[in-house]
Each structure stands twice: as structure tokens, then as C-alpha cells.
């Protein structure tokens, strides 16, 4: 979830408030929801307008103000497990998949790399310098325990540190063995954040935390095994994320605080919708 001041176009709200005279008017805040809409064959459904969306906030029908599709730059965060379990062929696959992913990024997109073993490291801050990721990964030496939850938290913070639509791809083939933060703390952040999380995990690990976080943020969990083509998975996630809608509305008829249950539907036959189930007010 993100709160923006509606008087400006989407993301640059705070700047407009800075003026010679203090402004005392009430803040009218908008809600932004990242939505994947596919047809019956799971292909993205294009050309939808605000009138096609039905949004209910805590059961109250809302007026959708803006819908954008594919025209906003992306913040693509990568949070990779580099603990002892990710060595050899798996590490090489991870490097190849990252290279394949960064070639798909556009000039206006930004990328970042966070890695975690026992500690969390920000290897590449959010920037358009996508080559940083390859350079950083070429020097890593996986070792030690797995601070998965801490790594995801850092990845989400980095992802929302600049304007744009934020995707966080989390790769881990192990279990959390070292985090300080609890899963409930990071899930709580997931309720307050607009970062969409796509975890990629091995079939035998499948941490419940990542599954829950993907659901909460409107993302999707991908399970892979050592024979799967990780590059294909990474590219598919990016492609899917690029073809999501970003809809914006100003909540009406609901109180500001607490958990808001969201329902998003599309008035098209066979349309399937994936969006976050709610947000924390």
C-alpha cells in the first residue's frame, strides 16, 4: 500500500506541499494497487480502463481514478540467498538468470541487489546501472547461515526507496536460520508497502513466510528444482510484472485506520485478477 497526495500526478506528492505558505488543508490520500489481469489462457489482458475495474475497500465500492499499464518505470530488486546451500551449479544458474533478467530491463528502469547469508548486504543500490548486478555476483562466495527474513525486509526497503513500481524477486533454496526480524514483522511491512514480492524457492524448502508474503503483496510464489531453467523463470516474472495495471483510487466511505480488505474485479468475461488482498491503514 502507498499513500500519495492526490493533488499531483501519482508519485511526486510531497514536493507540491512545499510552498511559501503553509498548507493546513486536510490531506486526501490515494491508494495504489498493482493488479495482474489475465484472460482464460493466462495471457495479460490489455486495454482496460478505469471503468472496467470494480474496487471495494472494506466492502465499500470505490471510484477508480487512474489506471496505467506498462508505462511506468520499474524498480526491480533482487534479494538472493548466498548461504552455504547455494553453491556450484545453482550459483552459476543464478548468475545466468540475473544476466538474462537485466538484459530485459529498460533504460528508465532501476535495479538493486541485496544478498543474504548470515548477514544482509546491499551489493547494488537502486540505480539504472544494471551491470552492477553481474559485477557483484561474479565476486560472491556463498557461505554460512541464511538470514532470509532480514534479507527480504532490506530488499523491500530498498525497493520502495524511490518512485516507480517496485518488484522484489527473492531467491532462496534454504530455510531461515539466522534472521533477527520475525516473519510477522516483515509480513506487517508487506501490508504497508506497495512492493510486489515474487519468491523463487526450491520445492523442498518452500518457506511458509514467503508464500504468505507473496499473497499479501499480490505476487506469486515460484517453485523450482535444480533442473529448472532459472533464467526462464526470472524473465517470465519480469514480463508478468510489466504487464500489470496500476490502479489508483481515493478511499471514500471507510475509516482511515486498520486493515482494509480489498476486492478487485474486472468486468470482462473470463478475466482473472491477482492483487493484494488488502492494506494496512
Amino acid at each position: 500500500m502507498i499513500r500519495v497526495v492526490l493533488t499531483v500526478a501519482l508519485f511526486y506528492a510531497p514536493a507540491i506541499l512545499v510552498g511559501a505558505q503553509p498548507t493546513f488543508s486536510a490531506r486526501v490520500e490515494g491508494i495504489r494497487v498493482d493488479v495482474l489481469v489475465t484472460d482464460s489462457s493466462r495471457k495479460p489482458l490489455r486495454g482496460l480502463t478505469p471503468a472496467d475495474f470494480v474496487v471495494r475497500d472494506n466492502g465499500v465500492l470505490q471510484q477508480v481514478d487512474i489506471v496505467s499499464f506498462g508505462d511506468i518505470s520499474l524498480n526491480v530488486g533482487l534479494a538472493f540467498d548466498l548461504s552455504e546451500s547455494v553453491t556450484g551449479a545453482r550459483l552459476e544458474q543464478l548468475k545466468s538468470a540475473s544476466a538474462a533478467l537485466t538484459t530485459q530491463l529498460q533504460a528508465a528502469d532501476q535495479s538493486a541487489l541485496v544478498t543474504f547469508d548470515r548477514a544482509v548486504s546491499l551489493r547494488c543500490p537502486l540505480s539504472p546501472q544494471h551491470a552492477c548486478i553481474q559485477t557483484a555476483l561474479s565476486a560472491v562466495e556463498p557461505a554460512g547461515e541464511t538470514a532470509l527474513i532480514d534479507g527480504v525486509f532490506a530488499g523491500m526497503l530498498v525497493g520502495e526507496s524511490d518512485v516507480g513500481r517496485s518488484l522484489l524477486m527473492v531467491f532462496s533454496d534454504g530455510l531461515d536460520t539466522a534472521s533477527f526480524l520475525t516473519s510477522s514483522r516483515v509480513l506487517d511491512m508487506g501490508r504497508r508497502s506497495d512492493v510486489v514480492v515474487y519468491p523463487i524457492t526450491s520445492r523442498d524448502a518452500r518457506p511458509a513466510f514467503l508464500e504468505h508474503l507473496a499473497d499479501l503483496t499480490g505476487g506469486r510464489l515460484h517453485e523450482v528444482d535444480r533442473r529448472d531453467d532459472l533464467s526462464k523463470t526470472f524473465r517470465a516474472i519480469l514480463e508478468e510484472f510489466r504487464h500489470r495495471y496500476l490502479i489508483t483510487y481515493t478511499p471514500r466511505g471507510v475509516s482511515r485506520d486498520g486493515w482494509h480488505k480489498l476486492e478487485v474485479r474486472v468486468n470482462r468475461p473470463g478475466a482473472r485478477v491477482k492483487a493484494r488482498p488488502g492494506y494496512q491503514g
Partner: protein, 419 residues
């Protein structure tokens, strides 16, 4: 046909029994020499001789050592073992005991034996790897007596191995020491130090068995209660719980000793309260109790204990932890401003601590200040140094094992020479 077979088996068993007994008596004599020869903490000839015994040989001689050391046969396992010794052999063993008692240092000898077996278990990797147990196959008595442990690395099964039998020797011999007017201090010192050793090595199966015995022997020693509480807290942690959740063992096998997080946390709470009842100014017990209560979501109660730890602590690491966990408590109570203060308190002690910076980031993020959250966390993410000096959180689950070198050195100090 059937009768002949039965007779043959009986005869073979008798011959085997005689042969085994002679071997056991010979091993007992060699063991007595080794106990006298061993210098604590040294990988000397005495230790190598014991380490060279096979797992089966060690199990063979154990009842003889227990009988020699006058270990009470007050548990089922010991009673079963004792019955394996024939009357003739038992008389010979008791004569050897009387001979050694005549030397006048029988208690010290038994303590030296404890140290020998402890050193053998720690210094010699006498690891016996085995296939996973066959749950549905019929097992022999000896197989049933052997505990099989599963070792994992980063959440994956690495191998199965037999439990190290030298710990059983040490525990039995400690039990043989006089209990009146009071137990020898080596007993509680040993249970504390070896509990810390198991924690340090992540050997939770051994640690569970260890503390189960400790409860029977030194039920009111605060440091031992504290050690077991640390173990229970670790068993409740995701590192263990997640591993158990996803580990697939061969059909019919289960990992023993790990219950739900709440069960382990409640056990830890009970143990820590008993430790505090025995020693009210036990600062680290207050700290751990605070964190356990936080995890049990009894946050206000938890904060009282954490505040007490902050008030009484003379140790910067304990104070750091107490601030850190107070931050968690305040966040859970939806008081992010107080949480922010607590995490900042932790950072005043360890300015680069990643755990405290992540906590501060979470508090600031809850307050809605994204930029401040990023700025709080960022310094800890650039080339973090993973050591105790930059963030003691890395070592939190070690518990008492952080002091392992000192504890073992103190335990071995009186036995640094040959007899």
C-alpha cells in the same frame, strides 16, 4: 531339527559370552591405566587408546566400568546393562574396585575418568556413520540400545550417525560421586560446560539427552537451568522449527525431542524462573526470560524483565540485547516511538549492529517514514562484518556457549597432570 538348532544357538551364545567377558575385563584393565595416564585436554596415548575402541567395544565395556565405578544401577538402562555381567565377573570387578580404593583417591580417579571420556568425545571425531534406521524391520537388542542422530547442514539431511557413547560413561561416573553432604561441584560444572559445548556444536540431540539427565542430577543449579533454557529457546527458533517442518526422513522415522515453539518457550520460561528463584540477581536469566515472554506475546511482562536486565547489567552485550528485545516488545505493542528509542539505545552500544539497525528500520517504517527507515538500515548493509564485536546478535543462540573456552578450561584445570 528345531531342537538341534536351538541348542546350537545356545552353545554359540555361551561361547560368545565367555569370549566377550574376557575381552571386557581386559578392556576394563586398559581403561584403568588410561584414566591414570591421561592429561586433560591432551590428545595423548591414553585418549587415543579409548578412541580406537569400536562402538561395539565401548558398549561392551560400559557396564564393567559402571560396576567398577560403583555407579548406582538406578535407571532402566543401567540395570539392564548391569545384568549382562556374570556373577564371576562382577566379583572380579569389585575386587579391582577395592584395590583402587585402597590407593585412597577413588573419587579423584572417577573424576579423572569423567574428563578422559569428555576429552575423547570432544577431541576425537569417533563419528560412526550409519544408514537411517529401519523403522519397520525387526531390530536386535543392541540396535535398540543405540541412538541414531540425524545431522543436517543448512536445512538438509547430511548423514545419520550413532550417538557418541563416551557421554554416557561421563554421566554415569558423575552419578557415582558421593551425594552427601553435597554433590561435588564438578557435577554442576560439567553439566553446564558440556551443555554449552553441545550448543556450540549445534548438537541438539545430545543436548536434550544431556539436560534430561541434568534435571535428575543437579535440578537446582541456576547455571545448568539457564543452559537448558537456552536450549529450549533455540528449539523454538525458526532455524530448528523450519528444519523439522520440511525435513523428509525415510518412512516411519521422525525427529525426536522437538515440539511446538510454544511448548519449548513455556519450558524455557519455567527453567528461567527457577534459575531466578535460585539466584535473584541472575541478569542474563532476566534478559532471556524477557525475550522468551516477548515470543510468547506477553509483552508488558517481558518489558519488566528486560528493564530489570538493563538496570542490573554490568555487561555491555547484555545491555545491548535488552535494548534490542525491548524494541521488539514496544513494536509488538504498537508503540513504534518507544521501539525507536530502544533500538537507538542498542545502537549507542554497538553502532554498526545490523540487528539493531534492521529493528530501527522496522520501527521507522511503522511510523510511515520510509526515507528515514532506509537511512537507518543502509549503513549496516554496506560490507557488514559478521562478528561478535560488530553485532552480538550473531551469537545470541549460542547462549552459554559463548563462554565455552573458559568453561572447559575451568573443568579441566585440576586434571592437567598424569596420576
Amino acid at each position: 531339527m528345531t531342537l538341534r538348532t536351538l541348542l546350537a544357538v545356545g552353545l554359540m551364545a555361551t561361547f560368545e559370552s565367555i569370549a566377550a567377558d574376557e575381552r571386557a575385563l581386559g578392556m576394563l584393565n586398559a581403561w584403568i591405566v588410561a584414566v591414570d595416564d591421561h592429561v586433560a585436554a591432551e590428545k595423548d596415548d591414553a585418549l587415543e587408546r579409548l578412541a580406537g575402541w569400536t562402538h561395539d567395544e565401548v558398549e561392551l565395556v560400559l557396564p564393567y566400568v559402571e560396576a567398577f565405578g560403583e555407579v548406582p544401577a538406578d535407571t532402566r538402562d543401567r540395570a539392564v546393562r548391569r545384568r549382562r555381567i556374570t556373577g564371576t565377573d562382577l566379583a572380579l570387578v569389585r575386587q579391582r574396585t577395592r584395590d583402587l580404593q585402597a590407593r585412597g583417591d577413588f573419587d579423584r580417579f572417577r573424576k579423572r575418568a569423567v574428563i578422559l571420556h569428555t576429552d575423547t568425545a570432544i577431541l576425537e571425531s569417533s563419528r560412526v556413520m550409519v544408514e537411517p534406521p529401519r523403522p519397520f524391520a525387526r531390530r536386535t537388542r543392541d540396535e535398540l540400545a543405540k541412538r541414531v542422530d540425524v545431522l543436517s547442514a543448512d536445512g538438509r539431511v547430511d548423514h545419520y550417525e550413532l550417538a557418541n557413547p563416551h557421554w554416557e560413561f561421563a554421566m554415569s561416573l558423575l552419578d557415582s560421586l558421593p551425594r552427601n553432604p553435597r554433590r561435588d561441584p564438578i557435577v554442576s560444572d560439567w553439566y553446564r560446560a558440556i551443555g554449552a559445548h553441545f550448543a556450540n556444536e549445534g548438537r541438539y540431540a545430545d543436548a536434550l539427552r544431556h539436560f534430561q539427565q541434568a534435571r535428575r542430577v543437579v535440578s537446582d543449579a541456576p547455571e545448568v537451568l539457564f543452559g537448558e533454557a537456552c536450549l529450549q529457546e533455540t528449539l523454538a527458533a525458526p532455524r530448528v522449527q523450519d528444519y523439522v517442518r520440511v525435513t523428509t526422513l525415510p518412512n516411519g522415522l521422525t525427529i525426536q525431542g522437538v515440539s511446538s515453539p510454544q511448548t519449548h518457550l513455556r519450558r524455557a520460561e519455567t527453567l528461567l524462573r527457577r534459575a531466578l528463584a535460585a539466584e535473584a540477581r541472575f541478569v542474563e536469566a532476566n534478559l532471556r526470560l524477557g525475550r522468551v515472554l516477548t515470543q510468547l506475546e506477553r509483552h508488558e511482562e517481558a518489558l519488566n524483565h528486560l528493564n530489570a536486565a538493563i538496570r542490573d547489567s554490568q555487561d555491555r552485550t547484555i545491555t545491548y540485547y535488552a535494548h534490542l528485545f525491548s524494541g521488539d516488545g514496544w513494536l509488538a505493542l504498537s508503540r513504534p516511538v518507544d521501539a525507536r528509542s530502544s533500538y537507538r539505545g542498542a545502537l549507542e552500544i554497538y553502532p554498526n549492529a545490523q540487528a539493531a539497525r534492521l529493528g530501527l528500520g522496522a520501527a521507522l517504517r511503522t511510523l510511515g517514514d520510509r526515507q528515514a527507515a532506509v537511512e537507518a538500515v543502509a549503513p549496516a548493509l554496506t560490507r557488514p562484518v559478521v562478528d561478535r564485536e560488530s553485532d552480538p546478535w550473531w551469537d545470541y543462540y549460542l547462549g552459554d556457549a559463548a563462554n565455552i573456552a573458559t568453561l572447559l578450561a575451568e573443568l579441566r584445570a585440576p586434571f592437567k597432570t598424569r596420576q
